[in-house]
Each structure stands twice: as structure tokens, then as C-alpha cells.
Symmetry: D2
Subunit: 337 residues, 4 copies
Amino acid sequence: MSSTLGIAVIGAGRMGADHARRIGRTVGGARVVAVADPDGDRAKEVVRGLEGACAYTDAAAAVAAPGVEAVLIASPGPAHEEAILLALERELPVLCEKPLTPEPAGALRVMEAEQRLGRRLVQVGFMRRYDAEYERLKELLDAGGLGRPLFLHCRHRNALSPSWFTSDMLISDSVVHEVDAARWLLDQEITAVSVLSPTPSSAAPEGLRDPRLVLLETSGGAIVDVEIFVNCGFGYQVQCEAVGEAGSARIGDGHAMVVQSAGRWGGEIAQDFTVRFADAYDRQLRRWVAQAARGRAEGPTAWDGYAAAAVCEAGLTAARTGVRTAVELTERPPLYR
Amino acid sequence: MSSTLGIAVIGAGRMGADHARRIGRTVGGARVVAVADPDGDRAKEVVRGLEGACAYTDAAAAVAAPGVEAVLIASPGPAHEEAILLALERELPVLCEKPLTPEPAGALRVMEAEQRLGRRLVQVGFMRRYDAEYERLKELLDAGGLGRPLFLHCRHRNALSPSWFTSDMLISDSVVHEVDAARWLLDQEITAVSVLSPTPSSAAPEGLRDPRLVLLETSGGAIVDVEIFVNCGFGYQVQCEAVGEAGSARIGDGHAMVVQSAGRWGGEIAQDFTVRFADAYDRQLRRWVAQAARGRAEGPTAWDGYAAAAVCEAGLTAARTGVRTAVELTERPPLYR
Amino acid sequence: MSSTLGIAVIGAGRMGADHARRIGRTVGGARVVAVADPDGDRAKEVVRGLEGACAYTDAAAAVAAPGVEAVLIASPGPAHEEAILLALERELPVLCEKPLTPEPAGALRVMEAEQRLGRRLVQVGFMRRYDAEYERLKELLDAGGLGRPLFLHCRHRNALSPSWFTSDMLISDSVVHEVDAARWLLDQEITAVSVLSPTPSSAAPEGLRDPRLVLLETSGGAIVDVEIFVNCGFGYQVQCEAVGEAGSARIGDGHAMVVQSAGRWGGEIAQDFTVRFADAYDRQLRRWVAQAARGRAEGPTAWDGYAAAAVCEAGLTAARTGVRTAVELTERPPLYR
Amino acid sequence: MSSTLGIAVIGAGRMGADHARRIGRTVGGARVVAVADPDGDRAKEVVRGLEGACAYTDAAAAVAAPGVEAVLIASPGPAHEEAILLALERELPVLCEKPLTPEPAGALRVMEAEQRLGRRLVQVGFMRRYDAEYERLKELLDAGGLGRPLFLHCRHRNALSPSWFTSDMLISDSVVHEVDAARWLLDQEITAVSVLSPTPSSAAPEGLRDPRLVLLETSGGAIVDVEIFVNCGFGYQVQCEAVGEAGSARIGDGHAMVVQSAGRWGGEIAQDFTVRFADAYDRQLRRWVAQAARGRAEGPTAWDGYAAAAVCEAGLTAARTGVRTAVELTERPPLYR
């Protein structure tokens, strides 16, 4: 650890700026050397507080900048594939915010490029795998503490959706987290998706089908139900109850401090994923930096990104047609087994 | 209330014996005067501890016995219709254990008989409506505390199913409680049913499709999902989370006493509905007796029994075919509005 | 149980009126035949809704009224002794609201009268012993589930104290419940009392030393600490954590329904002991009636009333002097062993 | 942050080894350059995994080693004063594990040395101030959310005490954490201490007075009660309920994952402070490194260490004599206001 890992951050929006700040503040052994955003002012804004980092409007220039040893991609989904391929050309480790690519086809091309290199360099930013509660649930499931899993009952709620959020994004941008969490917790693939939609909440913007109930079937015969509700009003909440043959376990209640006041007992609900998953983001970045410094990648793979994209594609079809839709996956390449 | 209400109990199985004991012990103003069961020994067994009560093998004889002023029916479902009609002939108030009748057709005939009398005499034993937690949830929903309801997430779990339990009974005998609870809590009818089945638990008897996920759609555009799991192993558990436009509320956690011992914190889970719903059964019986003493009935109506039967019928079709099935209801007669 | 037990209710204040209503509504096999209160209008008010009950201004007249088979005393503490002795002269079972008598001396005289009769007729209204959660804690302790008890940590909170409440009453009227609960749960006597007083809450009326921390030492070497806070503002709350050599158990959290709304999760706190202990009052009265109908008494004895009075007397001394004060008890008569 | 802060770790026992590992693993911008322990093998063992760090048997040599820019002291309490003074001679920032010094006199000498330098360089390792739950409670109290504080009810439990633990250490080694937490949470000094001791648990080693109830009175008229129980058997548990004029708040329940299995609901209790306070230790070290790199200290001061030592001294007297003991503090020097 005599020197620190030089990182190029692609995308200077909310997530990119957050990650750049994290690298400086809570992750040892790394420093941002380049930040790219088509909006050059945004890139400069992020770079301002970072000693020795330069701003770019072009992702390719940032990836090729001197001192870049790893690439963190936080640009909009459609820009991911190009940036990943640029990094792979230079054999640089990549941490790519989810989705890996918006459609399965792009993810397949990423997997091909990575397979040509013959080793894993790409990690997808499914940060729930780094959350302490998820980790404990995963350990319990892996240890057989609940027996064979039968159900995952999931709640995914946001206080308010941003103005640009669409009905499709409830699935491809939000439920995609449960898709990965379910695949990871169960160590199974998703085989079919159904979607049920209640009359939308009057708190949701006109035209947004919010909330929804998304039902996933898995290769091991389990059922996953996800309430996705991005305008629930009361806060950000991610809960998961795993029900197995021998018991159930629930995470996400978040009962840290209990207050009694004015006739009520209870506590606060986090208003935002940056609060709820702050530690998970930190841990993800620390572990990625530690691996990237050795030229390697661990964590969620390009295959995980591909499978999530394929499930979301089927989910969008199911939502549109109202009919249960099977998920089609290509064969899993040896690199990802 | 100078004298006490004379009650005929039809059916001397577990539920009938329980009710007879309740009437003697915790319900004031009532006494059992007749107990009927085709198995005469069982009826005599129940009657033994009850001063002034006679045993019968024939329901008709019990209903016609001297001093009978009200009828409590706890025989098997297929015997309900006949017993109810016998009571209605004599214009006696009836408390009938669920299901009112196994099929909707029988319930329609009961409704016709009651309509001919022009007043309500029949109450169905959906005792959850008398549970303190359900009552609080109902009050909250009625007061608009959660806004318009969007979801009910329900868990219905038994430690073990009895040997004679069938896959159909998961719906018609177990989920029927959620069907009524959902109709009552939301004040809406169920319009369609879907059923998803994970690979059955290895803890379930051979051939039993246990657990299942039953999905109900309502006339007000809400979605109700019910996990029914009658061999969950860990206890009897009935939970319900109502999610509305303005918040959510959950009942059924049952966190009465928290113990810390041997590296764990937590508490006991009730093993049986007689423990979980003991107070609800008491309250149901007390309120019914109070009304019956005035020759009236309140609480769940024959229409509620009919609607539950119709939903279960659709549920069985959905389970058999794997396809979403619409619920067909006749028009609601004025007596039940 | 062909006929019902005739009860004289002495005292027509809040508790007396409540008990009279209970007897009519939720307790079978009993009826109020007489109500006495020096304020005759109050007695008449209570009697109004009760068929066949007469109002009296004189306790003696009510106890001697025709049809009286048992006496329920809910008058102010200083009037208890006389009413109990009147009932004992007629060998009538008595349920006396706590305190049995305000001072230990009066309780000793009651015990003498009862011992002369040679059988137990007096029960003190320590209704917590009939609360479902306390019962479960008692069972756990008796079964040795926590090992030998070391601590009871108690919280006793009222939203607001009535205008006539005094600093002494925090101990003699409120903590007296914990005194009995501790003696009953541990099956030990209290041997010494200390009192610590923080600066009174500005929410408490001028001059009221509220809250306080009362420390009880027991004959078995356990320590009981009681936070008594009668103007806590947020509700009525009775909690107890028992800590033993092998674990701890806590009751009184009352987490029945969990609501999520407006950035917070949680639930309501009962505002009143009539809500929190409604079932305990019902059960106490039902069991007392069942015993009284046989001319007997169970439940908390006159000795329990005496011991509580002696502990409270020591507690008042400790509060006044700021010094730990030993509790002096007479020898326990055989009738109460 | 081009270069990293060179740290000398004094003491290579459990805490010292832990801290050295933390610096390497989760704290950016710092590296261990020297480790000192009278047991040279232990120092070498710790140094083994750390590139560029040397082992010493002498604290003075380690503090004077090339590249040392800050000193972390984790030796036994009696060795603290000397090591701190060595560091202060060189004007190096110090993080000293609690207790600052075993007796108040030593702490006064440390304060004098620091005052001579005219700026703060010493931080005491009261790491609870860096725990997320404590931080939230502190914020709530500071914001006035509970009104003026009246009580802190504290539980401090260890599964098992180490073999060398003494009755005095229950106070000076364990309750010292609550002493600091109470002073910090309330922003008040402790003015008197009382100690009550139940019959020791049979689970405690012969001769150890375990558990105890320690009662602290504060300058602002609040009462702090601490159950200290170092052989509770079931786990490591630190709870605190703050009761104020307007409500109460409780931390330390630790309800992260709720499991239902085999007739019980609940979760695991952390077995160890390294689990419960892992994040607090990380955060403490990160913030100290960030300040030390600027030649400054924040966090708990030498005055905090002195006050804690004075309260513990009074506590030991109270425990020995059984009598409430006043705490005597010198005047607070301007540097620590």
C-alpha cells in the first residue's frame, strides 16, 4: 500500500459524485485521477475538491488518462457498454453501477469481451450484497438454517419517485435490485415473471403505474413476491422475509432507536437509500479497491448483470401483456461458473 | 337478562366442544341445553359437564328440544345447510362455523330462506373480526389513516396440518379466513383469484401442495397476497400488513414477552389458533349471545358466507388450471346491504 | 350456577362504577344488588342501569341488604377497613381495591378478623396478577427459565396525574402495584426501600416530586428498581424486565399494531390503565365471582395487603429522609402461608 | 493525502493488535510504523503482517522511532500516563484507550502537560461516542426532542468475564463507559454515586460481586442507573433508555434480523463488544487519523478521562462502604471548556 490506486470515474451525476467523495473520504488506498461527464461543468464541480484529479467531457479520454488503474462507471445505463469496453481494452478493473446494460444483448457483448481476456475484470454495483443485514440473511440461508427456501417476500419502497421516473423503471431500475438479491440469496436463476398492478396510488404522478406486485419464479421452485412502491410517502424501505422449510427470517425493519412521545412509540424511517445503504456502498467500494489493486474483480459478475437484464426484459413484457412471461437465458459461460 | 339463553350446539367435535365449554365458562347469560352429534358418545361426552343439557344424535331433534332459543353450528361443512334451515324454520338465531356452506349454491339457498323471514338471523363464525388487532386495523382503515388501501400482505401459517388435510383445503378451509378478512377490512368484493405454488415443502405430507401463494384482486383495485403454509413447523401465525396511499400497518407479530437467553432474544410463537384467537372466540360468542337474546343477528352475514364460498370456488379453479380466475357473484340482496 | 351471586358494591366513584358495569356486562353468574356511596346521587347514577339493584348512602346498609352474598369495595382507602369488617361479620367474601388499608395497622386488624373466622374471605385487588403478560412472566420465573432472579427493572408511567395526587401517593398509590408484583413474581418479601429523586419534571404540578426512582431490596437478595413517573406525558405504560442468572424477560412493550406513516414506524401507547389492564380486571372479577359463589377467596390475601402497606410506609420514610429504610413485618400467620 | 500518517502503537495485547489491524485494513491515510510491548514476541507478532513497521519492547523507543507522527496507546491502564507524557514531549497527537489513567491524580498530570503545550493533543478512547445509535440518541437529546433529561436507564452486560476480572473492575473498567456516555449525552457532570449489590449470580466466579446496580446523580438533577452484569451468560448487550420531560428513547435492542423457527421468533445477541461496536471503533480511528494528520485532537478530552476516573474512584468507595458518595472534581481548565 505504498501507492494508491488511480481511479477514473465515468459520470458526474448524483451517483458519480457520491462515489468520488467516498473514494476520498472513507476508502483508503485509492484516489480519483479523472472524472468524465458530457456536461463538463458537472465533471469540474466533482473534481474541484479532489487533489490531482482532472475533468473530461469524453469517457475515452478519462479512461486513457495518465495514472488511471481502474474505472468506476456511474453514467446513465445506455452509456455503460461503451465505457466498459474501453476499460476492458486497457485491461482495467471496472465497477459498473447497475444496470450493467439496459438490455441483455449489451451484457452479452460485455461478457464476450471479458471472456476474450480470460479473466474477470467487471463488477456490477449490486451493493445490497455488501449490506450487513443481507449478509447475515445470506449466511443463514447458506448454512441451511431455514431449510430449503420457499418464498422471498420483498418490499421495496421509496418516499417519492423523481420526476423522470417511468412505469418501466419500477421494474428495470428498482426491482432489478430484488432480482439480483433473489438470485444471490437463493443461488438460483429466475425462470418466469408475472406482474399484478393495483389501481395506482393517487400520490403517484399521473400515468405512473405505482405500486406493483412483481412475482418471480425460480429454478429451484421458490416464489419471490416484490411490492415495488416508489411513492409510498413514508420513507425508503427495503425489507425481505425468507421463508424456508424450517423457518423464516426477516431483514429491513431497521429498529435502531425506539422513541416514546406524544402517545406513540416507534422510530424514524430512513428517507433515502444513501442513508439505508451508506455502509453497503462503503464496503462495496473498499472491497473493489482492494481487488482492483491486484488487477482482479470479485462480487457481482457480468453474468449477474446479464441475468438481471434478461429478467427485467421479461418483467416488462409481463407488465405490458398482463401474462406470466418465461425468462430466456443463454448458457452460462465457464468464466462465470 | 333475568334468565339465560338456551343454546343447541350442533356438532360435538373439537370446535363444538370448545364452544360448549366457552358458553359455560366465559359467556354470561347463556347455557347449553342440547348437543347433537351423529356420534352419540361424543355428544354425551360434551354434555357431561353441563348441568341441564341433553345429548342427541339428530340435529333436528336438538334444534327442536325444549328450551332451545338459539343454535350454534359446529358440524362439518356439508352438514351446515340442513342445520341452518332447521333453525330458520323455527326463527332461531344461528351462529354457524365457517364455511357457511362448502359451495356457493348452498349459501344462496340459506340466503333465500333468511330473506323469506325478512330479517337477519344467521351469523357466520369469521371470528377474526372480533380479534383486538384486526379491530384496530379495521378502525385505522375506516378512519382513512392509511389512505386508500393498495395491498394486503397476509401470512397464514400452521405448525402442522392434520392428517386429513387436502390441497383444496389450503384454500377453502384456511385462506377462506383471509378472504373474509380482506372483504371486511377493505369493504370490497374479491373479483379474481390467481394461485402460485412453489415446490412443496418436504415437511408437508406426500401429495399436499403446501405452501401456496394466493393472489386476490378486489373491486376497489387492491391486491391481496396470501402465503398459506400449513406445515411451516414453527407455529401458528396470522399476520396482515395493509399498505395504503398514506402508510402501512401490520398486525400479528404478537410480541408480548421478550426473553433474552443463551445468545438469543425473542419470544414464543403461539402453536395453535385456540391460543392466538382465544379472546376473539370469547368476544364473538358474547356478542352473538347478547344479540340472539333479542332474536337478532349481527356480525358476518350469510352474504359474507356466500361471497367467501364463491371466492374459494374460483380459487380452487385457479389452483387447478394455473390461470387467473374471475369470481362471479350474484346481485347482493337488499337484506345484506 | 342456576342462580347468580348477589354483590354489594361499596363506593360509586370511577372504580366502583367500572366494576358495577363489568359485573353486568362481562362477568357471568353475578349481579349487583346494592351500591353504597356517601354521595347518594352517585350511587343512584350507578344503579340506574342495573336491574334489581338498590342505592345506599351507608356501607353497612348495603352490606346488610337482602340478597347480598359478596362485597366489592371500591371506596377511598381510609374507608376500606370498616367495610371489610362489616363483610367479615356476615362471613361474606370480599374483593377490596388496593390499598387494603392505608397503614399496616389497619391491615393487621383485618387479618385478625379473618383469622378468627378461620378461613380466607378477603382478596385484594392487585389485578396485575391477572394480566396475561404478567402471568407469562410469572410462569417463566416459576419454571426457572431465567434462573434465580437478580433484578426487576420496572417502569410505571402515567400520562398525567389527577389534580389531587400527592408526592406520597407516587409510592402508596402507584408503586404499591410494583411492590405487590415484585413480591408475587419473586415469591419473596421486601426488606428495605431507598428512594432517589431527580429534579421534578416541569410537566408535573408545582410541588409534586415526580418522577422518582424507588429501590426495593428483597429477602432473596434481589434488587427491584421502579421508575414511577405520573406525568410522563406520552401515555400509560407498565413495563417489567426480570433479569436472572440465566437470562432476562421483558413485558409491557405492547407492540400490537405497527404503523408506518409520515417518516415514522411505530404504534400507539395506551393512555390509561383501563385500556392496558381491561382484560386483567375482567379476569380478576370472573375468578373472584367463581370463588365467592363457593364462599371462598383466592388471589392476593390480606397478608399481601398488609405487606404492601408496610413496604409503602417504609418507602415514604425513605423518601422523606433520603435514607435507605428497612421494612419491618410481623410474623406471617399460618392462614396466609 | 499524498503521504500517510505514521503511527506508533503502544501495547500489543488484544486491543493493540486490533487497532493495528484496523489501521491497515479499514482506515485510509495511515500506517503503523512502530509497535511496542514489554513482551517483544507479542510486538513482533503484530508487526509481522505490517509492511514497514518495527517492533520494540520499550514505549519510549517506539514513540521516538523514525516516521512516528501520532501515538495510539493500548497498554494496561497503569502504563498510560508515562506513554502519554512521552508523546506530548514530542507534541504528537495521542489516542489513549480508556481509562486515561487509573486514578484522577495521573489524569491531572496529563492535563497539566497538555495545558503547557496550549493545545489539545490527547483523545480518550471512549468509542461509544462514535456508535451510530448513541449518536442518534445524542442528537435527539441535544435537539430537545425528549425535553430535559430525567433518567438514563442503562444495561451493560457481558456473556462472561475474563478470569482476571475483579469486583472493582465492574466499576472502573465496565461502568466507566456509562460514566462517559452519561456525561456526554447529558452534557453534565456526575455529582454522586451509590451502589446496590444483589446476591451475586452463581454464574459469576467465586468472590466476584456480579451483578451490581450503580446509581449516578448528575449536576443537572438527573439520575442514571446502570445494571452492570459481566456474567449474564446470554451475550454482550449495551442498552440505554433516556427519559425526559417530553418522552423517552431507547437504543441497544439490536433487532437487525428476526428469525422464526422451532416455536420461537427472535434474533441473535452479539457475543462480544468487537461485534457490537466494530463500526464505532472504525469510525473513532478514522476521525482521529484525519485530525492527527493536521496535528490536532477532537473527541473525548483528557478532562473527560479525568472526570471518569474521579467518578469511578467515588464509585469504588460507594461500593465498599455501601453509602452514597459525592464526587469531587477540580475546576475545569479553560482548554477543556
